[in-house]
Every structure is written in C-alpha cells, then in structure tokens.
Amino acid sequence: MRKKNDVEHGDAKHGFSDHDCSIGQILRERGVSRRDFLKFCSVMTAAMALPASFAPRVAQALDEVKRPTLVWLEMQSCTGDSEALLRSANPTVAEIILDILSVDYHETIMAAAGHQAEAALDKAIADFKGKYICVVEGSISMKDDGVYGTTGGKTHLERARQVCGGALATIAVGTCASYGGIAAAVPNPTGAVGVREAVPGATVVNLPGCPVNADNLTATIVHYLVFGKIPALDSHGRPLFAYGKRIHDNCERRPHFDAGQYVEQWGDEGHRKGFCLYKMGCKGPATFHNCPSQRYNEKTSWPVASGHGCAGCSEPGFWDTMSPMYKRLPNVPGFGVEATADKIGIGLVAGAAAAFAVHGVLSALRKDKEPADETKED
C-alpha cells in the first residue's frame, strides 16, 4: 500500500535543492540583524562553556555553514524533550525551524502525516546520507523483536538502525534516549535501551536530563557547526561543556551545605530561606549537569532554586539508583579523586552530614535494585 518516496505532494516543485546559502546569509536575507546574530553567537558561546573571546569565531563559522538537515525520531518517549525544544529561547524554535536547520522530520510538529510523512523521512536520509543530524527522543525497545514500539508498521529498532546508521551524528536527547530512562527501570518490561546500545556503530552524543535542557541541545549542534566535530564527551557519552561539573559544586545553596544549614521540613524556616536540600533527598552531590548555571525556561529557575531537591535525572540508571527520591544520599566510605578537591563543609565536621564520592555512590547504589525500606537515614 505504501509507496516509497511518495513525495509528489505539495512541495514537489520546490524540491530539496542543495543551496549555497550559509546560515549567516540566510539570516540576513530573512531580516535578522547582524546585532541579533552576534547576540545569538555570544549566548551559544557561553552555553558551550567557551570564553567570550570565542564569540567572533562562532559567528564566523556560522556565517560559513549551510543550513543542515535534521531529522527527529520519537521512540518510547513522552514527548517532553520535544516540548523542551518548543521552550527553547536562544534560538527560538521558530528560528530553528525556519532559519538555522532544515527540520525535515519531526512527528510532533510536521504538517504531513502517514505515508507522506514517512516519504519525507526516506527522502531526507537518502538525499543527505552521511550529512544529516539525527535526534532521538525516547528509549528503544529490544525485547520480542521490538514490537513494543512501531511507527508506520516498522519497529523503532529498525528505524533507529536505518536512520542513526546513516547520520553524520546522532544526538540522544533526554535520559530515555541516552540510557533507556524510565522504561528501562527495574524490571524493564520492554527491554528498553538507549541509542548507543541499540545502534552500536552510530556516533552518538548523549544529552540526558528529564527533559533535556534545550539550550544544551542547540549548543551541541552549534559546537558541531563551529568546530566541525562533536564536543568532548565523558565516560557516559555526555558533552563536558554541559555535564563536566557536579550540581553540588555549582549549586547556589552550597554555602548552606558548607555551613551545615539544612531544610528539615517542607515549609520550615530553612526552606523559606533557601537552605540546603540535602536532607530532603537532593541528589545534586551525585549528579553531573549544568542546571545551576544554565537553568530552564530562559534561565527562570531550576529545581533547587524552586525549593525541591535535584532528582539526579541526568545520571544513567537514576530511576533505580537515585530513588526513593526523598531518601538522602547515603554515606559512602572512602572519597574519590574529586572529593579531595572538595571543601567538605563544616556541616560534616559538625556531624550533620556526609560528603560523597560520586562514582562510588552510583556503583554502590546500583546493586540495590529494590527500593529500600528505610526512608530516613537518622
């Protein structure tokens, strides 16, 4: 029934010709001022954790790059990462769609449906083989030949292999696409995994978080456009520019931790005054993410700033290793390398708290698959 490359509808006369326009030129033609363009470059430079002196280089590189093709696949997702993209401010989603990228496939926003939609995907990955960027949202079911996720009658696993396999690079947005996420939590009923595991040969950048911070997504794309390569990654496949530091070390409430000032009860004086949320289960000490600096919704806030602890959502397996959510992180004997550089707060000296060796915590907790009985440490 379904025709391959069935693209005679609508835009046939426009085709998909490979234009010579650079992003900078396109933006100028669309009436984006040079000033706004440079402002965008500055914001991106900051998001990539580069010194401000790099901004002109970013601008120059973007001036030269053509509008790249992007396809966005939704697998076992909740669409939260697509929603995050809609909240993106620098650039806005309208700028992304109209000016910066050619988003040739995205089920949540695209006008076409059914076989016409599938034909658009087929065409994009054929015409730009080896050149397009693929974004994946949601985990991929491996169990029972992947029957727990199909689109257009094809399994998500098959789609991932086909589309990620031919991509220049794949960006796994959110914790599900990165590591399997919530669907992969014990007992993982559908055999859900992240893209790296589902498509072992693909070049994958993981941008975990629940949802992804859209600023980190655009910064990753811009990083590629500027430097011609994907950013440096940590051992979990995450860009160092966004996941290189512990939340605890950049947290605005760190001085309260060091001073031994904690929230003891929701709504108490400490809660109202912005004390440390460690005792309420905050997982910031074991979580690598730039939430404290990048924040969300145009830097309006992030969980700790609004009075709730970090859930650890950018860490692999956090659904099992970091829960129960309100249970404080346990004491872990011995300190890792980074802990020696830490200022272990006087709170610890006062016997009120422990400090953490991050990777040790994760591996120690991972064994503990069943949620523990204890909900309170002391």
């Binding site: 509008r67 006008a111 919704n297 009075g307 709730h308 659904w319 829960s323």
Partner: protein, 565 residues
C-alpha cells in the same frame, strides 16, 4: 472499498495509527491503534508512594503536570491528608496555566494546519489581511506592514527549497476553504503563538522550577516555599511576575485565539455535522476550593441528552482488554475496576514490518475503559457540555456567545467543530479564572498564611499498614483518574485511566467502538491518498498516546495468582 492507513498520525503526542474503510468517499468503519508500550506500571511496584507523582509525570511530557496532580491527590486521598489552602491554590494556578498553554499550542501548532493552508497565504494581500485582522480583534500586530513581513519571511523560506516540517503536506487539498488572507493571518499567529507559549509557561518555572516536568509537587502540598521576606521563596517579585504572565496569557486567548477560532470556524460549518462520536461525555470536575467544592462541575451526559446531568461514580469504571494486547485473568468480556486492575502485556499483532493490523482480533496497546459499560468521550467538549447542562454561569455565557456568532444551535457541539470550539471556550474560561486563584493566594499571604505543606503524615511511620485511594483531575485532554493501593509503606497497586485511554480506546467486548473510531464513521474523504479529513477529526480530540498506554498494574502476576487461588 479501500482500507486506508494513517501511521504515523503526526502533530499529536505519541504513536497513533488509524485504519479506516472508505466507501464512496465516506468512512464506513475505523480502528484506532496505539503502537507503543513502556509498562511503567510494572516498574512502580514496591516504590515509595511519595515518589509516584514524579514517575507518573513521565507518562507524558506534553500534559506534563496532570499525572503529578492526579497522583498526589490519590496518595493524599489514601492517607487522608488535607493540604493547606495555599498549596491547593498553587496547584490550581499550575493546572490553569497548563490548560491555557496546552490548548493554544494544540490549536495553532497541532490542529491549525488541518484547516489552514500555509501556502495559500503566500498569495494574500497584506492590506486585506490587515483589514480582516482589525475587523475581528484589536490585537496590536495587525498592520499591513506586519503581515507583509511575515509573508516575506515565508516566501524566503519557501524559495530556499527546503520546506522542513511543512514539506509533503496536503497543501492545495480541496477541503481547505479559507481565503488567502485568513491563511496568512493564521500563519502569522502560528508564529506568534510559538513565542507566546514559551513565555507564559514560565509560570510553571517560577512555581515549579521548570517546564516540561515541573519538579515541585509533594504528597501533602507543594515544594515552593512562601515568604515575602525571602529571595528564595515565593515573594512579591515572583507573584507579580506570575500576574504579568497570566495577563499575557489572557490577552492572547481573548484577542487572538478566540477571534481566530471563530473566523476559521465560520468557513467550516459543515464540520458541525461531522465527527459526532459516541455521544456520552464525562467530566470529573476541577479547581477545588478550600472546602473541596469544584469550580468546574463534575458529571456525565448520556446519549447527547443535555437535559440531564448524571452523577459520576468512580465505582462504575472498568477496563476491558478484548481488543488490546493484554491478558486479563477475569476472562474474556469481563472488565476490571482500576483498584483491581491488572495488565499482562501480550503482543499478538502482526510481525513488523506490517501493512495492516488484524482488526478483528486485538489491535492496540490501549485498553478499553467503559463507564457503566458505556464508551465515554472525555476532554474540553465533555467539560463544557457538563458545565453547560449544569447551568454553570460562565460556561453558559461563552457557549451561547460562540453558538450565536456561528449561527448554530447547541446540537452543533456534538461534532468535530464542536470539539475544537469547546477547547477554545475551555481555554477562555481557564484564562479568566486562573488569575483569580492568584489573587486568592496573594490575599492569603498578605494575611500571614505561608503554609504550603501538611507535614503530619510525611513520614511513612505515620501511615496505616494498608491504604487505598484515588485522585481525579480534569487534564487539558479530559477526565484523568489515578488509583493507588499502599501496603507496607510501598506501592502495592497503581492504576491510571487517562483521557486518551477513554478516547483512543479500541472496541470493547460488546464491539462498541471507542470515541475516535465512532467519530470517524461517516467522515467524508475527498482523496483516500490524502486523508486530511481523518486528521481533522482525530486532532479535534488532541490525542496523547504516551499517556494512554501506561496501563498501570504494579502487581502483575502476583495479583493474578492471588485471585485465582
């Protein structure tokens, strides 16, 4: 007779497939299939009930607050916790903002392209577009220069030859009826709404840290502290910013969304006779006050009879799996109440890649919830119909206004167009009511009430050995219920029956169609290869499939064994 398949249905949340039989240009039968399953239900087993809101929030990132709300309500109901008035008001503000923002995104970004031909707008006269815009609203962005700017931007985009997400659509389809000027105006507002939605949702970021997935809910209240004398709490600065954002939300709804809706609808009045559906409508009620009274009334309408509102009893809800890829220990043709719900997934569909499902057998990962054995539609239309039939003053005024402007009777509401119009009415009601919750909150704070959480039962040591409860919520897409059983301080069983499960449900044991399926029967199809009309009716429900396929059964096999022995 042709069987047509639309998969994926785009511009929705999740993975939905529609198969339909078309005869002489009309759909004579249809099947709705959800093609993705995660099984979060099983994963919840044995977890801390206080965490359930955070897990169930991940059912869906579009209606990103709704499962949190239903979940904390269910646990609070089970543990008999009464939350402070401020926490209720903060929840109401979050709910209202979610409804407003979600409905606007739905209208412009998920639904509009079913009615608006963007390419036709390229031919519009900007001066005439300006005149049209000024005739329906005093929204300031209405000059000819403004519309010419939008048109130029579109022309440059099209001339680049790369249409991106607008490629390969049904442009030029004979079912598009708007004049070029209306198309250009709607396209301009499509772009404006993209900007608007990311601003107004900052209400969630201020109150709840971020959106999507605000991290602020607590069993017993909310995590955002209140203290006018602290920079780390809800203070005057933040409250006034919320006020500004809610005003911005209300302005756009009143001056852009509603006028656009009426303008577009006036060209598509034939759709007031298409897409009626099952004819039964249910609403759980929403916006509780300090005494638990609902601002939006609860109730059900049966067989399109607006003269009678039936009281809803959650005990009459049962889920069937006769056409869903699950086993059921109760046996074929039997439904289970959510408290006793169970779900053993068993995929028996065709091996992928496949062309067609076997729709005589099981064909979806969505179960079939029924109320008193009846298929029920939920959503803004149900909310509006129940409120209208209950004599809810504000709702009645807007419904009569919209019907009057379109020159149609109340019977027109039972349709695709009625569903889309009701969403606008619902949005307007939310946009006008939500600032009042903020005023109440400010009033409480000014009296010195800073309480946001009831602490007495936070520690599990204070809980009974066993407890069960339910939490109901009117989400943007309709009636949502969560049911929880707690045993030994852990989740023993957890069930959610969500709006899109009601609406997207496949047939039940009696062969009764689900609401999507019923609404598609009788829909005209001008070109089976370009089934734009299917998208219109399906999108009018605002499908949300990740929500629909959650099938919470924390208990799995053990439950079955207990029942059998």
């Amino acid at each position: 007779m042709a069987k047509i398949v639309v998969d994926p249905i785009t511009r929705i949340e999740g993975h939905l497939r529609i198969e339909a039989e078309v005869n002489n240009g009309t759909i004579i039968d249809a099947w709705s299939s959800a093609t993705m399953f995660r099984g979060i239900e099983k994963i919840l087993k044995g977890r801390d009930p206080r965490d359930a809101w955070f897990w169930t929030q991940r059912f869906c990132g579009v209606c990103t607050t709704v499962h949190s709300i239903a979940s904390v309500r269910a646990v609070e109901n089970a543990l008999k916790i009464k939350i402070p008035p401020n926490a209720e008001l903060i929840r109401n503000i979050i709910i209202g903002t979610q409804n407003i923002q979600d409905h606007v995104i739905h209208f412009y970004h998920l639904h509009a392209l079913d009615w608006v031909d963007i390419t036709s707008g390229l031919k519009a006269d900007p001066a005439k577009t300006s005149a049209l815009a000024a005739s329906i609203s005093d929204w300031p962005n209405n000059s000819a220069t403004y519309f010419k700017g939008v048109q130029d931007k579109l022309k440059a985009f099209v001339s680049s030859g790369r249409l991106g997400p607008f490629a390969n659509a049904y442009w030029g389809h004979p079912a598009y009826k708007l004049p070029p000027e209306a198309n250009l105006m709607a396209t301009a507002h499509y772009l404006e709404a993209l900007e608007w939605q990311k601003d107004v949702i900052k209400v969630h970021a201020i109150l709840g840290s971020k959106n999507p997935h605000p991290q602020t809910f607590l069993v017993g209240g909310m995590a955002i502290p209140i203290d006018p004398d602290s920079q780390n709490a809800l203070n005057a600065d933040k409250l006034i910013e919320i006020k500004r954002l809610l005003k911005k939300a209300q302005d756009f709804v009143e001056k852009v969304y509603i006028p656009d809706l009426l303008a577009v609808a006036s060209f598509y009045k034939d759709w007031a006779a298409i897409g009626g559906g099952v004819g039964n409508y249910m609403c759980y009620g929403e916006f509780p006050d300090a005494n638990g009274n609902m601002w939006f009334p609860a109730g059900a309408i049966l067989d399109k009879d607006l003269s009678k509102v039936v009281k809803v009893d959650q005990g009459k809800i049962a889920e069937y799996v006769d056409h869903s890829w699950f086993d059921n220990s109760a046996g074929a043709g039997k439904g289970l109440h959510p408290y006793d719900g169970e779900t053993e997934v068993r995929y028996t569909g065709p091996k992928p890649p496949y062309e067609h499902l076997d729709t005589n057998a099981k064909y979806s990962f969505v179960k079939s919830p029924r109320y008193d054995e009846k298929a029920m539609e939920v959503g803004p239309l149900s909310r509006v119909l129940v409120a209208y039939a209950s004599g809810h003053k504000e709702t009645k005024a807007f419904v009569d206004l919209v019907l009057g402007k379109l020159g149609v009777g109340a019977g027109a509401l039972f349709s695709t167009l009625g569903r889309t119009a009701a969403r606008g009415i619902d949005c307007l009601l939310n946009a006008q009511q939500t600032p009042k919750f903020l005023d109440e909150l400010i009033n409480n704070i000014s009296k010195g009430d800073y309480r946001i959480h009831a602490n007495e039962k936070w520690e599990p040591a204070e809980w009974p050995a066993e407890a069960s409860g339910y939490g109901m919520h009117e989400a943007p897409r309709g009636a949502l219920g969560h049911w929880i059983k707690i045993k030994d301080k852990k989740i023993f069983n957890y069930q959610a029956v969500v709006p899109s499960t009601w609406n997207a449900s496949p047939r039940d044991a009696k062969g009764q169609r689900g609401p999507y399926e019923a609404a598609l029967v009788g829909t005209p199809i001008a070109d089976p290869n370009k089934p734009l009309e299917i998208l219109r009716t399906i999108h009018s429900f605002d499908p949300c499939l990740a929500c629909a396929v959650h099938v919470l059964d924390a208990n799995g096999n053990e439950m079955v064994k207990v029942k059998v022995s």
